[in-house]
């Protein structure tokens, strides 16, 4: 992940020339079933480096399962997921690429303060010294509008603030790809807008690939470069938001009706 030259960011000081670029994702013939329930059916998808792709689908269509395959938390029955030309199941994958995910539940560590949550990855992998980590934590929390909240415990935060801390935690990893699992689930419309702004801000400020999985059609059209519509485990339509607005597909039309 990089940022515009005229906007210095604290990581640049510590990256020591390591280049971090956005990566593309290629999914080929992905199949996954749980018992008799086929959740993903011969799913194919390509995400280009640096784009924000929204995977739009109703509840229970396999969106979260797909996301878990992309980040390597689930193994497919058949097919493959390639990120930056390396299979996510490859032993070397984690050494070569950094992926971050913002979970639907935010998944903050309740026993750690906000600052320690954001710093966890950097501390555990000894990427920076303590002073630099404090700088990164301060900067990332500022990016998501939570400056000065380092010492607050997650239990004291609202749902929207937890999501923003989760975004800061993802950002602190300096990832090449950020995945969002229902980022606006359980949030009010105002907070949905705020989270949408955060995703747009990252797209403008950093060169990072983002994949957002949601059933929130408003968010999809707000942040997406392209939207992929998922139904019954397959991508039925993909394209720019303007293209999808003219779609004749009945499932896509169903979604558009709620806009």
């Amino acid at each position: 992940m990089t940022q515009p030259v005229n906007e210095p960011f604290v990581w640049e000081k510590y990256r020591q020339g390591r280049s971090v670029e956005a990566v593309g994702v290629v999914i080929r013939s992905l199949n996954k079933s749980f018992g008799d329930n086929l959740v993903l059916r011969d799913l194919n998808l390509e995400v280009t480096p640096g784009e924000t792709l929204v995977i739009l689908g109703k509840s229970g269509t396999g969106k979260s399962v797909l996301l878990r395959h992309i980040i390597g938390l689930m193994k497919p029955d058949s097919g493959a997921v390639t990120v930056g030309e390396i299979d996510v199941e490859d032993q070397e994958f984690r050494k070569k690429h950094t992926l971050a995910i913002v979970f639907q539940s935010a998944a903050l560590f309740n026993s750690l303060s906000v600052g320690d949550n954001v710093a966890l990855y950097l501390r555990e992998h000894r990427i920076y010294g303590e002073e630099e980590i404090r700088d990164v934590v301060r900067e990332t929390l500022t990016v998501v509008g939570l400056e000065g909240k380092e010492d607050v415990m997650p239990s004291e935060l609202s749902g929207g603030m937890k999501k923003r801390v989760a975004i800061a935690r993802a950002l602190a990893m300096s990832p090449e790809l950020i995945l969002y699992d229902e980022p606006t689930g359980e949030l009010d419309p105002m907070m949905t807008h705020t989270i949408g702004d955060e995703i747009l801000k990252l797209r403008k400020r950093f060169v990072v690939t983002q994949i957002v999985v949601t059933h929130d059609v408003y968010l999809a059209f707000y942040v997406a470069d392209r939207i992929a519509v998922l139904d019954e485990g397959s991508i039925i339509e993909i394209g720019a938001p303007e293209k999808l607005r003219r779609s004749t597909n009945s499932i896509t039309r169903d979604f558009l009706r709620s806009l």
Binding site: Q104, A107, F109, Y121, H125
Partner: protein, 255 residues
């Protein structure tokens, strides 16, 4: 047939979790703060209740066996009887059951809740091994703190027995006689016997409670069920392994 398969699968996975935790103990120095925090939880915070339990256990053994021995005029052996039963059996078993109920249940609840609310997956996506981060510090803390807690319980239990023996008129054994008999009968190998047992019980409690926590799926109800299952399984394994270890130590001449 399924039950047999499940038994061997669970046993294998428990052993694998223990071995993986031991492998990650190479990172113990780096994680010393976490190990120390769990030691405080297992040891320090359990001290008051452990003292209360062991004081009354020592007292009740004296109360039950003292008058019986006095009928035959051999009540001066009370110190040794209480000393040996505490150091070899009651100290390690009661201490471990206390830790399984007080600390093991909290381990399962905390790790189970982390599993249910995606925190374990969040660790994996950060390339942080959950066994190294969550299980290893707890295991090392239990291995260090539980034997120390058992020594503490033994001493308080001896004291409880001595108080009852010296104050109960139907026993009437002085502190001095009680102590002399205890120190002549309880040998160093008996203390080691109890410490070996408590070390194994510490491994059992931590491994079982963390294993069940890591495998918890669902919601708050499943977390509650997991805690119950972890505590019950820990109790059963503590008692079964106590029997097996006692027979093994006896055959080795350490019983």
């Amino acid at each position: 047939m399924n039950a047999v398969y499940l038994f061997f699968q669970t046993t294998g996975e428990l052993i694998a979790l223990f071995l993986e935790s031991m492998y990650w103990s190479k990172a113990a120095v780096r994680n010393r703060d976490k190990v120390f925090a769990h030691m405080v939880e297992i040891g320090n915070k359990t001290l008051p209740v452990a003292a209360l339990i062991s004081l009354f256990i020592g007292g009740v053994i004296a109360l039950q066996s003292g008058p019986q021995l006095a009928q035959y005029g051999i009540q001066e052996n009370l110190g040794g009887i209480i000393g040996l039963s505490l150091v070899k059996e009651l100290g390690p078993v009661m201490g471990s059951i206390l830790i399984a109920g007080r600390v093991g249940s909290a381990m399962t609840a905390e790790i189970g809740s982390m599993s249910v609310y995606d925190e374990i997956d969040a660790l994996r996506t950060m390339d942080i091994n959950p066994v190294r981060y969550l299980v290893m510090p707890r295991l090392l803390a239990a291995i260090i703190a539980l034997p120390l807690l058992v020594i503490y319980m033994d001493v308080i239990g001896w004291l409880g027995g001595a108080i009852v023996a010296s104050t109960n008129p139907s026993i009437n054994v002085s502190f001095q006689i009680y102590y002399n008999n205890l120190s002549s009968l309880v040998e160093f190998k008996d203390v080691i016997n109890g410490l070996v047992k408590s070390l194994v019980f510490g491994i059992i409690i931590t491994t079982v409670c963390c294993y069940i926590g890591l495998r918890t799926r669902g919601g708050p109800r499943e977390i509650g069920t997991a805690v119950t299952r972890a505590v019950v399984l820990s109790f059963v394994l503590i008692l079964v392994s106590d029997y097996l270890m006692t027979s093994a130590l006896l055959s080795l001449g350490l019983g």
